[in-house]
């Protein structure tokens, strides 16, 4: 008999975790490292179950589960364990003449009790990676995994309860009702991965308590292909990044391609060739792709394909099977720019190619749309690379590859505008869940009378000199020469 999660449960949960936090349970280095190592044990001991749950929920191939979820998590945990002492150490800050004599530092402190709400497409990675950040930073944390990946959600609940300190780390399973109840509580930080629509709801709920948020959202990540690129490698990387990553259901999936009218046929041919090499002549039968997560999303994608002026633009694929929740890798060319497929994040195995007279035009097309989480460019042209990196606003930019920046712990991963706010990975995760407290140590030496009333012209001059850090002037005033 499943107990129904109610308002009182949410309140009790937060109260309990707050007590643990206030008691100092999560503050010490030892506790944090122990929890992180327990997460590592989960990865080591339960990989087959994780792979199985991901297969149940998403039809995810074993390699994707092992590599893009478990292995990435393992790396993330190992990095945190290795660097934690460093991360926890205060940073020294410089002081200046106006605050002399003093020393200053920045102390990292946990925010308190935090909420992590994760998504269904990488349910383990997107649940545990933020939790790694929360724990390293010394917080108590509640995780709410997505109900759209139920096997993963329940496995997460089971494993986290089994391995981690449940006085400070908890999982709440559920859907809209449970999430709403959780959002009514006062959290010290909310970390959300999901859609822009829900991101707004989260931020609005957070505003009631002045809770800071990290929102990892999505968008239409464009891929610009220049004619001087190595087309074979380009095609392979796009395919691996799109269909090879949860069948296009990823926040940084290449959403659509921009290339010239002239080059487009070559691009299509290269994609067709490599798609066949990867997935065979019958991609619907291939075991190397995830399926569509559920019938709602299947119908959403179907509708995109069936739209008038879109359905006749299919140049490859287009097959669908609702029972099996499969849609074949599908390429379309020059669908109308105001069609559904070009207006919302596709999040599926459909790849529109928009052709331009001149590659230059790609900047306007991208700029006319909300800022995406990622923007990709394939080219050997140094000037184009520089211009792209500088003028295309996106969460992150990758040149000559797809999605890999997600795996780099030294790069901040996050969005801008509609694609989100805040970032994480590596130390950025630790920072995301920390308050950087400024600390100034002043001594009692040198109590300048100029600080205090009554005010006089001499004091004003000295103040001005101090503000300008003008040593000469300072001395002159003190000596009464100015």
């Amino acid at each position: 008999m499943v107990k129904v999660f109610q308002a009182a449960d949410a309140t009790d949960l937060v109260t309990e975790l707050r007590r643990s936090f206030d008691d100092g349970v999560t503050r010490g280095y030892e506790w944090r490292v122990t929890q992180l190592k327990k997460l590592l044990l989960i990865c080591d001991n339960h990989e087959p179950e994780i792979v199985s749950a991901l297969h149940d929920d998403l039809g995810k191939p074993e390699l994707e589960s092992s590599v893009y979820e478990v292995a990435l998590l393992r790396n993330s945990i190992n990095l945190a364990v290795k660097q934690l002492k460093d991360w926890m150490a205060p940073d020294k800050a410089k002081t200046s003449l106006t605050t002399f004599p003093a020393s200053a530092e920045i102390v990292y402190e946990p925010l308190g009790v935090v909420l992590v709400i994760s998504a269904w497409n990488y349910p383990f990675l997107l649940s545990i990676d933020p939790v790694i950040g929360a724990i390293s930073a010394g917080n108590a944390v509640v995780l709410k995994p997505s109900e759209l990946a139920p096997a993963s959600s329940s496995l997460l609940a089971k494993l986290l309860e089994q391995y981690l300190d449940s006085s400070a780390v908890r999982v709440v399973e559920g859907a809209v009702t449970e999430t709403t109840l959780l959002l009514e509580q006062k959290w010290d930080k909310i970390f959300y991965t999901g859609s822009s629509r829900i991101g707004r709801i989260i931020m609005m709920a957070a505003a009631k308590h002045l809770t800071p948020v990290v929102l990892e959202l999505g968008g239409k990540s464009p891929v610009v292909i220049d004619s001087d690129t190595n087309l074979k490698i380009t095609a392979k990387r796009i395919i691996a990044g799109k269909w090879g990553c949860n069948n296009g259901q990823a926040c940084i999936s290449p959403d659509y391609i921009l290339t010239t009218k002239e080059f487009s046929p070559k691009v299509i041919d290269a994609l067709k060739q490599e798609l066949e090499a990867f997935y065979g002549k019958n991609p619907m039968e291939s075991k190397d792709m995830s399926r569509i997560v559920n019938s709602n999303h299947f119908d959403r994608l179907s509708k995109m394909l069936e739209e008038k002026e879109v359905s006749d633009k299919i140049v490859y694929g287009g097959q669908k099977n609702r029972d099996k929740l499969k849609i074949a890798p599908t390429i379309l060319v020059d669908v109308p720019l105001d069609s559904q497929i070009m207006s919302e994040e596709i999040f599926g195995p459909l790849l529109p190619i928009i052709t331009l007279n001149n590659l230059e035009e790609c900047f306007d097309v991208i700029r006319s749309r909300p800022k995406p989480l990622a923007a990709y460019l394939f080219t050997q042209n140094q000037k184009l690379k520089e211009r792209f990196a500088l003028t295309v606003s996106a969460g992150g930019i990758v040149v000559n590859d797809i999605a890999v920046h997600l795996a780099v712990p030294t790069l901040p991963f996050g969005g801008v505008g509609e694609s989100g706010m805040g970032s994480y990975h590596g130390k950025f995760s630790f920072d995301a869940f920390s308050h950087k407290k400024a600390v100034l140590y002043k001594s009692f030496i040198g109590d300048a009378a100029i600080r205090y009333p009554p005010y006089s012209t001499g004091k004003l001059r000295l103040l001005k000199a101090l503000v300008n850090s003008n040593i000469l002037e300072i001395f002159r005033v003190i000596l009464g020469l100015s």
Binding site: S66, L210, N230, V408
Partner: protein, 484 residues
């Protein structure tokens, strides 16, 4: 209001076009604007002191120290550091990704909104603008209508010094703010009360606009009289200067209340009296060194706080008020009831409650029972107490043995936590506050690893597993067929 809506629409359109043109991205443009701000403040120093006197009764030294000098220094720092700040930061990538390279560049958000507060109307307007401009944004300022002369001066002066297709000023109160908040901004920077902060954040949520909220709280001051007995005179001077010498206690980082051991309380009060007299003379109202309360409404609020009979009974110094002159005398209370209003909301005025404890160690628990403040001040030389304060309390900042001065240290981030705010600025943090840190990664088209691509098989799986573990030796063995 229709006219105002039209003005806002037009302003936004112009600022967006200007940003799209790329003009504000150039370092030269940014430096020119920063230089212009310095020039503007220099040229208008007297006028600025005038409006600060008109709006708040600030003495020109207070005006210079807390606002004008501060702004000029902030702009100078930005000017001198901008070349460094705009340089992309290289990131070291794990060997696995060789020969890819990674870096992070700071990119302006675009068109940003700065809403400033009335207590430091010049610096709280210009300082965030300095950050926005250094980061390459276009910016619209709405200063507070509660400091109308300062707001008007900024509205009149800024257009003649700065690029007014990129930097704009709008005057007005809550109704104008509402109109502004209905529009989409790329960032909103707000200084003010937590109550309004919530409204701002909720409005920002509609457009997923990131916000920095510089709010307030009750900033406690701990006096550990045992360890600082030798320097007690300095302690009292610093607290007095901070509380009554800066906008009459109407500052977000003002000393709100003092915590001290019972045994020292009366000596402490006796030490405050001569200090206050030395600062403000026998009649502080006539000294010209005490700022006035900003409006009648705020005066009445303070009046109400003090009129609670139990609070009245706790007055040990001062207490006189003049509604016409909007003057409240530097006032000290001893142990007003902890459930009184004055002990539960940010005072924002020249009234200083002293709360006594049996043991100064109790100050930690006391502070923790209240919302996280913007600053905690502690006068102590006891290292153990310092450590306890740092590790057991939470606040925007902690300053030992002084008050307010952390504001001047631009190597320290200035911002709150919890109820006292989110985000931070000053120095380089101002630049970062208005920048999106964009990750750029570049791979090579020359090399390729077959193991990256489907169709998947055990070899590829093992390869990738080993690569992720950075078990390079085993990887080589695998490739040579020497590992299963």
């Amino acid at each position: 209001m229709e006219a105002m809506k039209e003005t806002v629409d037009q302003s936004l359109r112009e600022m967006r076009d200007t940003f799209a043109s790329g003009r504000t991205r150039s370092v030269k443009w940014r430096k020119t604007q920063l230089e212009a701000i310095i020039e503007m403040v220099k040229d208008n120093e007297d006028k600025m002191c005038d409006v600060l006197f008109q709006d708040l009764g600030k003495h020109s030294i207070e005006a210079f120290r807390d606002e004008l000098g501060f702004v000029m220094r902030s702009a100078t720092t930005a000017l001198n550091s901008l070349d460094k700040w705009v340089v992309p930061r290289k990131s070291n990538l794990p060997l696995l990704f060789y020969p890819a390279t990674g870096k992070v560049i700071s990119e302006p958000y675009g068109t940003v909104l700065v809403l400033s507060s009335w207590n430091f109307p010049i610096s709280l307007s210009l300082d965030p603008m300095i950050g926005a401009i250094s980061a390459g944004n276009t910016v619209l300022l709405k200063a507070s209508e509660l400091s109308p002369n300062a707001s008007a001066l900024l509205a009149k002066t800024i257009p003649s010094y700065l690029d007014n297709k990129a930097i704009k000023v709008i005057e007005g109160g809550p109704d104008v703010a509402t109109i502004l908040l209905q529009h989409q901004w790329d960032k909103i920077f707000f200084t003010g009360s937590p109550r309004i902060g919530k409204i701002i954040m909720a409005a920002a949520a509609e457009n997923l606009t990131p916000v920095t909220l510089e709010l307030g709280g009750k900033c406690p001051t701990i006096i550990d009289h045992h360890s600082v007995s030798k320097d007690m005179k300095s302690v009292v001077k610093r607290i007095s200067g901070g509380k009554w010498g800066s906008c009459s206690g109407q500052a977000c980082i003002s000393v709100d209340y003092v915590l001290v051991e019972q045994s020292f309380a009366s000596s402490l009060i006796e030490m405050f009296k001569p200090v206050i007299k030395s600062f403000f003379g026998e009649n502080p109202k006539e000294s010209g060194c005490v700022a006035r309360i900003v409006t009648k409404k705020h005066f009445q609020r303070l009046s109400r706080l003090l009129n609670d009979p139990r609070v009245q009974a706790s007055i040990v110094y001062g207490g006189s008020m003049d509604e016409e002159k909007l003057y409240v005398e530097p006032t000290i209370l001893l142990n007003p009831p902890l459930d009184s209003e004055i002990m539960n909301e940010e005072i924002f005025g020249p009234v200083l409650p002293i709360i006594t404890l049996r043991d100064i160690q109790e100050s930690i628990g006391f502070i923790k029972s209240k919302p996280k403040p913007l600053a905690i001040y502690a006068f102590t030389k006891d290292e153990k107490l310092k450590t306890r304060i740092l590790s057991e309390t939470s606040s925007g900042s902690v300053t030992f043995n002084d008050v307010m001065i952390q504001y001047m240290c631009d190597a320290l981030p200035f911002g709150g936590v919890g109820e006292s705010g989110m985000g931070r600025y000053h120095g380089k943090y101002s630049f970062e506050c208005f920048s999106h840190e964009k990750a750029i990664m570049e791979g090579s088209l020359a090399m390729d690893l077959e193991a990256r691509y489907p169709p998947w098989n055990n070899f590829k799986l093992t390869f990738i597993r080993l690569a992720f573990r950075e078990a390079y030796f085993k990887l080589v063995l695998l490739m040579l067929g020497l590992k299963r």
